[in-house]
Symmetry: C2
Subunit: 391 residues, 2 copies
């Protein structure tokens, strides 16, 4: 048995909150397709989600993990449920046009007597396909399917003390990653070599805990890539006088704290310093505004007012709820810091406020992972916010 990240009481509490919401929505069963949600409810942890895998939550009793037979062994090693609640479908259902895993899973649900009534299901989870859904609904003709997207995600939005402790460890790894980037990146160093050093800090940066894979890989925006987010590293070497945006994170037991910073090789140009000043003031405005009772869109409005004073604009949102995460995204798809988001912030919310300004041919990013506390907020990462100049 692999050590579970949390005590049994934590999982029971999560399950109770999810069931409370199921009852409100008159659901008889919940089918959880999102991998982070599956892990959140069961502790199951394996890179097996490239074949269909679901967690089924009835109103009473344990949840059931259903996945590939080969991975049910790992399910029994990582998930907290009794072995009979970790169920594998036959290997001959894997990636073949002849049989679909959802045929088998649907039959299993029906045989269990759970194929009637209202079934809530996550219809926008990564790795749950239109074909999978068509096959599942075909196998369960007596059920009424109800969209349950984000039901579990909204339960996740408020973090427990134990979760916050992991996020703090993730924050230490994120700090180690940025410090390593500052240390290694210099003219002549290749992007891929910098990424290797950064990932080493992400995985090895804590003595008593492993760093986990981050849901997004490290991104470094420099040179030809500097004007666009989310591009991948290459064989290119850094050159003198580049402005380099680093979008990094650290993850401990999959709890992820983001940390973006910007560094400057050589002398910081005036236009970079000007945008930096605006962004730093914008971050101050975010941190002054974010507290229990504030509406999410007011945090963005405070940022917008600050950068507008500098003649700058930004179209995209500036932050999102963050927590337990699996690839491809560490955002939780619930709270966004943007116009029109009316979520009222409360203690235990954690948002990654990421202030990315992509200009013509260069860009800067500065972020903080922010815990809403009883009285205000706290940045989980503790790292100088200014652009790091390396001459």
């Amino acid at each position: 048995m692999i050590s579970s990240p949390f005590e049994s009481a934590e999982y029971q509490s999560r399950l109770a909150k999810v069931r409370n919401e199921m009852v409100k929505r008159r659901l008889d069963l919940l089918i959880v397709n999102d991998i982070a949600n599956q892990h959140y409810l069961t502790a199951y942890d394996g890179w097996s989600f490239y074949t269909p895998q679901v967690v089924v939550v009835p109103l009473t009793g344990e949840p059931v993990w259903l996945g590939r037979n080969m991975d049910a062994v790992g399910g029994r090693l990582t998930a907290w449920m009794k072995p009979e609640n970790v169920v594998g479908y036959p290997e001959d259902h894997v990636q073949t046009p002849e049989r679909h895993p959802m045929d088998w899973i649907g039959r299993w649900i029906a045989e269990k007597g759970w194929g009637k009534g209202r079934i809530g299901i996550e219809l926008e989870a990564y790795y749950y396909s239109p074909k999978a859904h068509a096959r599942l609904t075909m196998a369960l003709p007596n059920a009424v399917f109800v969209d349950a997207d984000l039901l579990v995600n909204w339960v996740r939005a408020v973090k427990s003390p134990a979760e916050i402790a992991y996020l703090r460890l993730g924050a230490r790894l994120a700090e180690a990653a940025v410090a390593k980037a500052y240390e290694i990146i210099s003219p002549g160093i290749r992007e891929c070599d910098a990424i290797a050093a950064i990932q080493t800090a992400q995985y090895s940066g804590l003595r008593d805990h492993a760093g986990d894979i981050t849901a997004l890989p490290p991104t470094i925006l420099a040179g030809e890539n500097a004007s666009a987010p989310h591009l991948m590293w290459s064989n290119r070497a850094f050159t003198a006088n580049e402005t380099i945006a680093l979008e990094l994170a650290g993850a401990c037991r999959h709890y992820t704290s983001g940390l973006a910073r910007t560094m400057q090789l050589g002398i910081k140009p005036r236009h970079v310093a000007d945008v930096e000043k605006a962004v730093l003031e914008g971050m101050d405005a975010v941190l002054e505004t974010a507290r229990p009772g504030t509406v999410a869109h007011d945090v963005e409005a405070a940022w917008r007012a600050a950068i507008n004073r500098h003649g700058l604009k930004k179209e995209s949102r500036i932050g999102y709820s963050i927590g337990v995460a699996f690839p491809p995204d560490w955002g939780e798809h619930t709270i966004s810091l943007r116009q029109g988001d009316t979520t009222v912030l409360q203690a235990g919310h954690v948002v990654h406020a990421i202030l990315g300004m992509w200009m013509e041919g260069w860009g800067i990013e500065i972020s903080e992972t922010i815990l809403i506390t009883e009285r205000g907020c706290e940045t989980l990462t503790s790292f100088p916010r200014e652009i790091f100049v390396k001459v």
Copy 2:
């Protein structure tokens, strides 16, 4: 402009093969949701697929990439099409219940005049959700949607010389990764530290090329995890006398060669040596059988006969087509080496034959990435196959 992995002629040839298949199936348009397929057709390369993103292939003219506005900048830097064929949807459509990117994309397709006729669409691509499909079909009421899963994947199955060159580079990175694992793994070393060293070899192992992220992260099966594939690393330190299965790969311009090997700390136990012998004979049987004209299931049958002679059985398939890959899977979902797969192998096919035997509390894995040649086959990786014993 970021350097494209291939010449223009390569993309034109791919497009011609895809259109040939579209015509055969009487498709007027193809919507490509699979990220590896999108990259294969357009060279687009960014970690942006956590928001909806499609590539639309009409019967004439350039394909069109449609994704998040923020990522269209990176699209214009990486994709080979004219800038007007890289199209961004507004940021206020990102992860909000009020607007769905597929509403916008569907309208765009309709306005282009492509909303009529038969539209082929990949219904089992990762990151394409049932909700996305429902919104898209709602926005295109005059189209007939036809399942086009694996249409592009089957075009990908036969590799060009330029693709094989990248797979050879990926194979060098995979060899570097296994060599590094052999070097670093010893009693007292933590799993997470070994993973960091292995990833460094995967990214930095070639002087003239960057190593890319592999579609599956490195997996190390040892200690409590040894009896199950696909589990993730932890803070645990290796101990004396462990049998350790390494499932690794290397990726160059996302072309991925897999390489699994097994190492033994201390003296190799008799039961491990017995299974090793069977697996090595099984690999010999695979390599003797795999050639143009052989049916995929006969390769598996040769393996099965070999291990049956040693009293061993394996339920799951022993290999799959491999090539260009993005997370979460490096398999191409076409050819499988297993019972019932009637694909006739041909020159240019590349399969990852992975012989994993997970026993009670331990396991071994040995794999080869195999290119089918004109006369037989060739392993792209060149690395001693026997269990590496480290005393």
